[in-house]
Structure formats: structure tokens, C-alpha cells
Amino acid sequence: MINRRTFLGTTAALAGTLAAPAVLGQARPRAVVIGGGAGGATAARYIANDSDGMIDVTLIEPTRHYYTCFFSNLYLGGFRTIESLGHSYGTLAADYGINVVHDWATGIDRDARTVALAGGGSVPYDRLIVSPGIDFKEGAVPGWSTAAQNAMPHAYKAGSQTELLRAQLENMREGGTFAMVAPPNPYRCPPGPYERVSMVAHYLSQNNPTARILILDPKESFSKQALFEDGWARHYPGMIERIGPDFGGGNVEVRPESMEVVVDGQVEAVDVCNVIPAMQAGSILQDAALTESDWATVMPATMQSVMDENIHVLGDSARQGAMPKSGFAANSQAKVAAMAVRHALTDSRLFPARFSNTCWSLITTDDGIKVGATYQAGEDRIEAVDTFVSQLGESDEVRAETYRESLGWYDSITSDMFG
């Protein structure tokens, strides 16, 4: 289907490659985006499309195939293939005229306004959007480091880690123990660990029904807790045990060589161990001195860094206020940032910032739940306007409809990101 958006995208691409340099005789303003996920890909696409070729857009992303973190739990549960989570950047380059650079951005020179690339050279910008996702805090879980991620996968950046965790799940001995070390707040995708537990339980209940799941959790409570616990009791009775901070869930050490966890001094052997460590903003933000205590604080109306008005920070790395760290939120923030960047570079109209978020989770086949809210820019942080959450005791039909809704959302947001 040809619609106005894709049509404009095509003309923008043509104007960008053929007409602009010759006609204008000077360089167009340059927007550079670091990170091709829900924040970065969306921002690049909206700037390129809506500026009708007036802004030169570069997207720096090391991988050629992006695997969405959202829905990767459904792959663990057997509801999706890994291929169905993969997306490429071809349309952004071909139809939107975006200069897609597959390389690592290794540093930001804020004075010179350039981004250094691992492959050599640098990319100059007038406005920079940084959307690198999260990095793990070294030493957050004693005994665990990136070097141990094969023995005890995090699977919290989708791709090979997710496939590894699925393989370990499949190979787990009969009646074995799947342990998860859950992260402290704030972290990417608040319901994510608990949807993952649901999906692992779904797989085990069909393939290894005497296995057990042990959650070691430093948090008192978690997102959609009542809904998850209700679902676990209904679908996976007796399989899942959660140890919260009162019983040592916040005092955990792991031993990857011997596949043991130590909870409050007590040693327990486990068969699979999914360690999701504490998180912080992507390291490129730390290195560029754009963070304070782990995250990059932004102004809510434009997502500009409070440290540097030429830099916008999106998604998981941003400290913005009330929005959760989610792909939906990053996509929403990207549209506000894209509008602000266009306004700064081409004087296009500036509208009030509007954000929204919905997080769907699957508990078992056709049992979907959701939580969400609308948001606006407050004085110095993003504030919630209205919120909603699925209810206990909803009918099977409502839960099935919620799951179908999430399938529709996946298709829509990925085409909103990648064209």
C-alpha cells in the first residue's frame, strides 16, 4: 500500500541524493543518531521523512540485523521464531534516504560536535540523538561478569544471548532448577523478567514438568505483580518460587564455574541461571560525561540532555521522569525528539510534547495482560496523565484479545521503526 508517508519518504530520499547539494550549494543541517533500536531508528525515520529532505540524517548502528528485545521472551516460550524478531535497515536507507553506518560509535566530541567511529573517521553533527539502550553495571551481581555470560546468560539484549538461554532451557535435566537473578530498579522493561518466568514456565510445563523456577529478587514488588502471580498460580501451580529481599533475594552471589547460587550465605545448585544485572546508561553516554549517577538526565519537552543542548537522549538511557524504560516509551520519546530537532534545524512547528506507553506481557497461551499510561512534559520531568492496567478475573476472551492486540502492536511498532 502506498500512503503519503512512504511516498514522501521516497521523494525525500531522491531530493536528498540528487537535488540538495547541487541546488542549495551548501550542506544541509546534519542530524546524527547513535543506536538503531526503538528510540534511534524511529527518530531517524521521522526526521528524514518529515523534513522532506531538508535534513541530512545519519544512523550509526553496529549490527545489520536488529533483534527486538520486546517479544524475545515469546521466543523463549516457543511462541515466536528468532527470525521473526529480526529486522534490517534496508528500507530506512533505500526509501528514507538515511545514511546508515554499520559501525560502533566509540566517542562523542561535544566541543567539535563529532562522533568517532571504531572503524576510523568521525561523523559531524548539528544535532545528535543518542539512544544506546542499557549497559550492565560491572560487579552488580558478585561472581558475575560479562566474561561469564555464556555460563549464565543475561539474555537482556536480544539475539545470540536469547538463543543461548533457550538452548540451555531445552537441554536442562529433568526436574532441574531454572534460576533467575532479577535486577533492581530502574531497569529495562519492568515486566520483562516476570514475563520471561511465565514463558520459561510455559515451556517447562510442556517439556519438563517436574522442573522448578527460582526467582531471586532484590525488589519488594514488581510490575503487574498481582496479575503475574495470579497467572502463575492458575497455570503453573507449585513450579515458581520467588525469594524477595526479606529472605535474601537481594543478597545473592553466583558461581558460574560450579553452577551455584549463594542466597544469604546458603549455597544452592542450579541447572540454568539467568542473571539480569543492575543497569546503567549506555557507556558512550558515561564516557561523554552526559550522565549523573548512572543515567542521562533530559529535559522533558524535547528530550535534550541537561548537560548539552545539542544532544538528545532517548529510551532506556534517559532519566526522564515517570515513563518506564521500554521500547514503546523510546519510540514515543523519539517522535517528540524528532519534532524538536526539526524545529531547531529547519524552524518547523513545535508542538507540546505528548508521550504514551503500553507494555503487554504473555502469561501463557492466549493469556495476555497489559499496563500503560499517557504522559506529558512537566517542568523538569515527564509526568503521567492517565494510567490503566489489566484486571484480575478478566474473561478468557478479554485476555485472548489483549494478546492479539500485542501481535498487532508488534507489527505496527516495528514498521514505525524500520519503515
Binding site: N3, R4, N331, R354, V385, E405, G408, S412, I413, D416
Partner: protein
């Protein structure tokens, strides 16, 4: 008094589509209308006599045409939200004084459904047909607000995170290609609690009438 006003409003809300399937014959309606001629005309830009000009009456708020001496009962019904639609006019024509007690219209009514549909078809002429089911409880002015297309495009970015722009409606309906009226009705109905959906209720809660018009204008342009 309250009940008199409430009844027609409920009729508007319920919008019982009893008559919708019935095709009206405007030519036959013109003949039937002769018994109304002593008080009403039905011509584009025609004058009002004892009663209002009835051309294009569908979509009009009851008792709202300028320069007409309506009975207080009709005015109050309009102020209470009564809008003339196929369904409400059908109810009124069947039993005028039962439908709006206190109406001054001295007409016994048309007991036959086909007769009423024929008259409604004649009154409608080339003007739009308006059904209660499409109107919800909205006043016609809502549909005439001029939208800001560029603002609508910005606001639409919130919609397309979930509603596919590429025509797939698995799980979530496609909203491109909707008639602007249908689009406006749907958003107002969610916002005002006549349709239920957690996400849509939350998303529309903060939309003004002007913002809904802007979204409708943008999505309409998208299809051109």
C-alpha cells in the same frame, strides 16, 4: 418534565436501528408530504412557515433553526441533546405527541414504517443521511470543526505505534481510510465513555475536540 426530555435523548443514544434496512422512496415521500405542506416546506434554503423548513433536517439539533417559533417542549428536547436522525425522526413521525409530549405539532403521525421512511428520504434529498448509531451523542457542530492537519500529523504519531499504517489489522484495527465522521465519532465515543477499551479510553482522555478534528483531517488527507 424530566422524563419528557429524557425519552428522546435515550432514543438518540440507543439509536435502535429498526428502520435502517428500510429503503425510503423519496418520490412517494413527496406525495405523502402534501399533508404537511400547510405548515412545512422542504426545499434547500426554503423558508420556514408555521413549522421549520425540513430540508436536510437529519443531523440538525431539535428546535435549533433560527427564526422558527418552536414549542418549548421541542426546544428543551434539543437542549437536552436530541438530534434528528433516521431513528429519532422515525420515532417522532410515528407518534409526535407521544415522542415529545407538549409538541405543538398537530399531526396524528404515520403508523406505517414504509411511509415514514419515504418521507424521511424526501426530506433528506441530497443532504447527508444521519443515523443515531453514527452520531452517538454528539452535536453536529463537532463535525464542522476545522482540523489543523500538521498538528494532526504530529498527534497521529501516537496512533501509529499500534495502528498499522500498512493495512494489516491483526489484533488492532486499521484506522487509515476511515471516513472523517466515523473517525471523529469513534474517538469521541471512547473519550466520553460510550465505547470501552483501556488503551483507547486512556489515549483519548486528553484529546480536545480540536485535536480530534486535527487527527481526522490528517488521516483523511492520508488517503487522498
Amino acid at each position: 418534565m424530566v422524563r419528557r426530555v429524557l425519552l428522546p435523548i435515550l432514543a438518540t443514544l440507543a439509536g435502535a436501528p429498526v428502520a435502517l434496512a428500510q429503503e425510503g422512496d423519496a418520490e412517494r415521500g413527496a406525495v405523502l408530504f402534501r399533508q404537511c405542506n400547510s405548515c412545512h416546506v422542504a426545499e434547500p434554503d426554503g423558508p420556514s412557515r408555521t413549522g421549520p423548513n425540513l430540508y436536510g433536517v437529519l443531523g440538525r439539533t431539535a428546535g435549533a433553526l433560527e427564526g422558527v417559533r418552536y414549542s418549548p417542549a421541542i426546544r428543551e428536547a434539543g437542549e437536552g441533546g436530541l438530534i434528528w436522525t433516521v431513528e429519532t425522526l422515525d420515532g417522532f413521525l410515528q407518534d409526535p405527541r407521544g415522542y415529545i409530549p407538549g409538541s405543538r405539532m398537530s399531526f396524528r403521525g404515520l403508523p406505517d414504517l414504509q411511509d415514514r421512511m419515504d418521507v424521511i428520504a424526501y426530506l433528506t434529498g441530497d443532504a447527508p443521511v444521519v443515523h443515531s448509531s453514527e452520531l452517538g451523542r454528539l452535536s453536529p457542530e463537532i463535525f464542522t470543526i476545522e482540523g489543523d492537519v500538521e498538528y494532526g500529523e504530529y498527534l497521529s504519531s501516537e496512533c501509529v505505534a499500534c495502528h498499522s499504517a500498512s493495512g494489516s489489522d491483526e489484533g488492532i484495527p486499521v484506522i487509515t481510510g476511515l471516513e472523517p465522521e466515523a473517525f471523529i465519532l469513534a474517538l469521541h465515543d471512547y473519550r466520553d465513555g460510550h465505547r470501552e477499551h483501556q488503551v483507547m479510553t486512556t489515549v483519548t482522555a486528553r484529546l480536545t475536540d480540536e485535536e480530534i478534528a486535527s487527527l481526522a483531517a490528517y488521516f483523511a488527507e492520508l488517503e487522498e
